[in-house]
């Protein structure tokens, strides 16, 4: 692992982070955060938890910001995601206005509204990790699903790099969402080898 990497600050934005676990993403993001911080990259995790809101300093290089849950009654999951957007934004803005941040890595579609709205304002490289798409989660044709697909489309088009955990998902993203395959990288984020590979991808110029 290169110790002379040029990265000084990274924000990881995730809908789940321990102790909140909805899928493997939670543990993967935590391991990645610890890996980055051990490599002396100041890492901010901006995440959501439905029962707590705090800023927790784990070490000098790792800070976890659990956003407030100001709108807890929602008419749908998509409404919840849209209402959480402002809390993610407030947290991210407070970091990027005061810290040197080179890259922001978003996990899963729940974080996409932030990318879409601020895509042209971010000075940082933007990375997005997809573990599924709405097309694979729910095949039914409905305005609700079409809305999420459109959000995915806009988000996928806005980022510099997309990591996916399977070849099949890479195909869906390049064919159904018409994303340039050079922006899509297959990588199962979860172990040290994958973190090292990801770090190399982080360091590549966009």
């Amino acid at each position: 692992m290169s110790k002379n990497h040029p990265l000084t600050g990274i924000i990881l934005v995730s809908f789940e982070y321990p102790p909140r676990r909805l899928s493997k993403i939670s543990a993967s993001v935590e391991k990645l955060a610890r890996f980055l911080s051990k490599n002396k990259i100041k890492t901010w995790v901006v995440t959501f938890d439905d029962w707590r809101s705090d800023i927790e300093k784990i070490s000098d290089y790792l800070i976890v910001n659990r956003i407030p849950y100001s709108v807890p009654n929602n008419i749908s999951e998509l409404a919840m995601i849209m209402n959480l957007k402002v809390a993610y934004q407030a947290a991210i803005a407070s970091i990027i206005h005061s810290e040197k941040i080179d890259l922001i890595h978003f996990f899963d579609w729940m974080t996409l509204p932030v990318i879409i709205s601020w895509k042209d304002e971010f000075q940082q490289k933007l990375v997005y990790s997809a573990s599924s798409t709405q097309i694979t989660r729910d095949k039914a044709t409905s305005p609700y699903n079409s809305g999420i697909q459109k959000i995915e489309q806009m988000g996928l088009e806005a980022v510099n790099l997309i990591t996916v955990n399977s070849k099949k998902l890479a195909q869906i993203i390049t064919s159904d969402y018409q994303i340039d395959e050079k922006n899509v990288h297959q990588l199962n984020i979860g172990n040290k080898k994958s973190f090292e590979e990801l770090l190399e991808k982080y360091q590549e110029k966009s």
């Binding site: 100001s70 709108v71 807890p72 009654n73 929602n74 008419i75 749908s76 998509l78 409404a79 849209m82 209402n83 957007k85 402002v86 934004q89 407030a90 803005a93 407070s94 206005h97 509204p113 879409i116 709205s117 601020w118 042209d120 304002e121 409905s142 305005p143 609700y144 079409s146 809305g147 459109k150 959000i151 806009m154």
Partner: protein
């Protein structure tokens, strides 16, 4: 000091749903006359331009339907994302000093912009969900209530249209009174005070009533909180005393069928006319031929229709609720009756129909109050004071982007 303002409003003429569009437009026009640069970001509408300058106001529109949605609330949340993108484009192109958000419908975009650009955010709260439906009964309503609360909490300062609204925000959201300013709505007095010739009056009167009938009118949305059922409940009693009276209900809404049902049930259909929406050309003449305008709302954060009545020299009877209580001084600028009380409403209508002198006095007093309190120039001046105050507070504060620190230092040097 002149500042540039970005107004966020989901509706703007020619797209009008409630009174918000007219409020934003009327305020913006006067601000422009006073030297302010005003940009409005709003939803597109078939036939409207993406950008146009209307009476000096920069109007920017975007495709609000680009993200599909199954229903209105979800549509609004999706729309906010698109409004935020458009607003970023505007802020980067024009030098915006203050963000001014109107109601929960634009909260998400406004709050996002506030954090991104670290600009002072002013919110005008025109009404609240807990009042519109007399309580919160489902997730959709609770969500709106929480969004309204969030917008107020996130704003540098909040404008409310009445003392009633201030007290609701204060007690419901535990929000400090010194972070709110009451600025009432206004009315374009010159536009509304046009008097028809007697011949024109005759023509328009015929559209609604017999020549010998006096008209008691209602105009507005036909939704439960507007209390049209209370007016219908007063009809029989009024007709006993004043048989030559016609009740003309102008406007549309999902409650219309039920109201027409009540009218049938009470066997007053031949004395009650539901006109539906009035066209632009019928709008002002309707006021001119109306002898008494009734505003029977059970919830009304302000009640701009009362001002429109006053401006058209139509005596008004209002429910003693919300902002209406503050607009009307009983038996001086209008009549106030207890809400949801058809008997009291009937008594007031009869008294006013029978007493010409009282009607004339009320019209004169109402006109005087309008020019001193509800004129848009006065309201714009009050708004400007808020803009300047929050801008000065923000300017003295360190909470701003590095680019703005530089920009406002240079601006201060130039002065």
């Amino acid at each position: 000091m002149t500042l540039s303002i970005l107004m966020l409003s989901w509706e703007f003429p020619p797209f009008k749903v409630g009174g918000l569009a007219a409020h934003v437009f009327d305020l913006s026009k006067v601000l422009v006359k006073k030297g302010y640069e005003v940009h409005v970001v709003t939803c597109s509408f078939p036939g409207t331009k993406e950008y146009e300058m209307v009476d000096g106001v920069h109007v920017h529109r975007f495709d609000a339907y680009a993200i599909p949605a199954p229903e209105f609330l979800q549509w609004d949340l999706n729309m906010n994302l698109l409004m935020e993108i458009k607003s970023i484009e505007i802020i980067n192109k024009f030098s915006i000093d203050i963000l001014h958000a109107h109601d929960w419908l634009v909260a998400s975009a406004a709050i996002g912009l506030k954090h991104l650009f670290r600009k002072p955010l002013l919110a005008t709260i025109h009404s609240l969900e807990r009042g519109r439906r007399s309580g919160l009964f489902n997730d959709g309503q609770m969500m709106l209530d929480q969004i309204e609360n969030l917008l107020i909490q996130e704003s540098w300062h909040t404008i409310v249209c009445s003392q009633y609204m201030q007290s609701i925000c204060h007690f419901s959201f535990i929000f400090p009174n010194d972070k709110m300013t009451i600025i009432p709505n206004g009315v374009r007095f010159n536009d509304f005070s046009i008097e028809l010739s007697s011949k024109e009056k005759q023509i328009h009167h015929k559209k609604y009533a017999q020549e010998n009938e006096q008209i008691v009118g209602y105009i507005g949305r036909l939704v439960p909180e507007k209390g049209v059922n209370v007016l219908l409940g007063a009809v029989t009693n009024v007709l006993k005393a004043k048989p030559n009276t016609k009740f003309v209900i102008a406007g549309e809404g999902w409650h219309r069928n039920e109201l027409e049902g009540i009218s049938k049930e009470l066997q007053i259909e031949d004395k009650v006319l539901f006109t539906g929406y009035l066209s632009e050309e019928d709008f002002l003449p309707y006021f001119n031929v109306t002898d008494i305008l009734v505003v029977p709302s059970t919830y009304e954060p302000f009640g701009i229709v009362a001002l429109e009545g006053m401006a058209t020299r139509t005596p008004i009877i209002v429910s003693d609720v919300g902002g209406l209580s503050e607009i009307v001084d009983h038996k001086w600028t209008g009549f106030k009756v207890p809400p949801d009380n058809s008997d009291a409403m009937a008594e007031a209508i009869i008294e006013l129909l029978e007493n010409n002198d009282l009607r004339k006095r009320i019209i004169k007093n109402a006109e005087e109050k309008l020019t001193h309190v509800y004129d848009w120039t006065i309201i714009a001046d009050q708004t400007i004071k808020i803009y300047e105050r929050i801008f000065d507070e923000w300017n003295a504060h360190s909470w701003k982007t590095k680019a703005d620190v530089k920009k406002y230092k240079q601006r201060a040097k130039k002065k």
